[in-house]
Amino acid sequence: MKQIRHFLFTAIIVAVLTAGIGYWLQQVIARMPISAEASRQAVYIKSLLGQHFWAIAFLFALIVGVMVYSFIAFRQKKGELLDGDYIEGNTGLEILWTIVPLGVVIWFAFLGGQSLTFMEIQNDNPLRVNVTGRQWSWSFEYPEYGIITEELVLPEDSQTLLRLRSTDVIHSFWVPEFGPKQDLLPGGEVRELRVNPSESGEYTLACAELCGKQHALMLADVIVMPRGEFDAWVRAKIAENPCLDGDQVGCGEKLARDNGCLACHSVDGSQNVGPTWLGLFGREEALDDGTVVIADVEYIINSIREPAAQIVSGFQNVMPAAIGESLTDEDIEAIISYIETLQ
């Protein structure tokens, strides 16, 4: 009879704790970015996480509930030194609490595999976007439209196939509201991530793999818009390419942006990883070997082609050599025209 009372009270404690913790955890999920359900992938993650959280609530309540009840019911009274009941174990129970958890974890692994499969369903004709990560900026190329942008603009309710690569170290693509993340590898390796944005709005892309000094600030805007608006945006973007209509300065600005120059070189005089471009052209720069040079055309070409050759005093050479290799002479000319205007 006393045994039954022990079990009854414990069961009540466990039930109350499970309900309380489980309820609170569902509130937590409601505050999470995936609860915006901004992509189909986020919905699957949220649903599975919800089930995990109920399991967490129950297991925490079960162990802590039994412990708390034992502390109350089976404590040593003051000054006593009595022994507890002599129970060495129970093989049946041990087998039970090996087999049941085994079944439960296999079930959860199955659910995990299933939800992964759903997340990776491939739709026909997805929008392809080539995403490039570099220390410490992002750029997005839409190969079908020939445009390169600094913010990621996506149409609502259709699949986007993100083809990810890095030019230097490992980065990771993560928009919390979309759910999944995927690392970007250097050396020409391409990794893919599929997302189906389902909710128009503005989000933030963040690098989720430590990538050096400014890792925390490696962010980009993500804008999801209805299909019609997206098409209009694409048309406008194609039309505004200054490099096609002979605007040297505008073309230089665009190249500087698309190639990530502006991630490290400010144009407003603020201090950053590299020297600011404001007032650069014609300025006297003190180099770290003690000499002084005038920032003319030759110096700037040199600094882009061979970033390690002349280092401005107080800075370190962290500029990726790949940038200089990918730009044509005409590109650099345009960039210099742009720098000249920054006085």
Binding site: V28, G84, G89, T91, L93, G187, R191, H215
Partner: protein, 632 residues
Amino acid sequence: MSFFKTAMGRGLIYQVIGHIAGMAFIFGVRFGLGLPVFERGGLVTPAAEASWVFGGVVGTLAFLKGTGVLDDWLKWWRGLSTPDHHEDKPGWQKYFNVSMDHKIIGIQYGYTSILVFILAGIFALTFRTELLTPAADILKVTGNTPSDILDFFNTMISLHGMLMIAAILLGVGAMINYLVPLLIGAQDMAFPRLNAFAYWINVPGAVLVVTALFLGGVDAGWTGYPPLSSNLAKLGFQTFFLGVYMIGFSSITGGINVIVTILRMRAKGMSLFKMPIFVWAALATAIIQFTATQLIGLSFQLVMFQRLFGMNFFNAAQGGNPVLFQHLFWFYSHPAVYVFILPGLGVIGELLPVFSRKPLFGYKFVALSSIGIALIGFFVWAHHMFTSGMASYLRVPFMYSTLLVAVPTGVKFFSWVATLWRGRISFQTPMLFVIGAITIFLLGGITGPPNGTVSTDLYLHDTYWVVGHFHATMFGGFVFPLFAAIYYWWPKMTGRQYNETLGKIHFWIMFPAFYLQSVSQMLTGLYGMRRRIGEYEVALDIQDLHILITVAGFAIALSVVIFIYNAVISLRRGEKAADNPWHSRSPEFQVASPMPVHNYDVPFEVVGEPYDYGLAGSSYIKFASTTAPAAD
């Protein structure tokens, strides 16, 4: 200044001299070859990299020579003989000199662990302070930009992580070295000289890791993934990798020593299933240490060679593969977390029956679950890499193997609470820490499966959720059990009793503070906080949680200060401890406090089960003669 006359003081001086000599040698060679010796920027430049590495190697060898830990081996090499035992001189100096007594080595591991723990804790408080505000603005000193603050932040988190791991490995060494021979009735470890070596090699290793702080720092986290860590801009990576490499020798040599000791040196009558449960945990730990540590040494060595010799192991542009590093690294570093927790879980199993006055429920299952965790632990490493870009089909099998870890871990939890059920529980300080350990390890354990399940992990990976999860496993699996062990065996180590009230205050600050810290970390991660960022987006609206985490971190530091104060006053004027203050059946509590120099002057024989509390007239051991009857 008598510290500098000890092996420790001498070794450190030798290390500095050896390091400088090694560097000078490379400088000389480079000078002779006409290579640049000093580039712009002096000693901390890529041109000096080889000098720092060679200096580090020579310095480590010089440290070992300076301490004298190699002396017996060097004598044998020359054909000379040495005494079997080296007696230690009494006094505090013995803890700073080379000793072959496993108890002294255990205490050496222990205080070194606590020193490294404090240093790594100070690093944590430093970067936690920065996280009080979203912008990188608090650690501002004259002349540094927000960008410099972020760089410093990255170094702090990296060194915090690696030094904490060093501290934990040292703490594991402390528990295993001190306890295993006592619990199995051995006079010492199987290879006492190797045991001393395994301790001393840690010291130059830890010094090298800390040196990275002054060589530009390290900015890739404790995991040190290339290509970031192979970028020559940060020289600190070399001493960081080299230091960890040296510490790895400790695990490998310590591991084989523990395995042999347990398998060959048990008291008469102690079959494997009559060993104290901690010994099972130590055996499982040692198997992992002995077989997996090589892989982290190898992965770090390959990055060092990539930097030094241009061998492009992980340079994708030259046919290398950066993901390969992650496989090698995690093949050790996942099992390593079981190295960190298994001894702690052993302590829980050891102490629960004593303070519940009831046998350990399902002894055989608890014992085998340690081995089960260790073995499954070898097949789960790639769950750290679900987002890494490895072959995507590999993710599903690794999800299944990872979730299987929950099964033996569950057996432990169920058996622990079944031990409490219908016991007679008392709540002295060691028991409080055991209770804290169980619930916190539970928190760490149950927050694991969402990380092991691929689709939820794609969200959770590299967020603060993971930070909360593993801090819970480390505090529950290591920190709380370590404190439980220190309080419980304090009388055996020192012959004195600690202050019970201060012990309880320590617990009642650390326990709630840890919950606050860990749960808040998990919440910020769920709300979108990435790991390893010194500046977070205001829009996430998580500043309040960050303030809580930081305040809780400082509270934990305060509780550790109280612990140290308690230890110091107990050593100075603590009351003399009884031989068996906890009424334990364990053999070490059947002899005097502090533990006699050669452990058991009279050998014992195992005549019963280790945890038969409540079985009238039974005892675990019996001494060979009639001098000291085994008490219950």
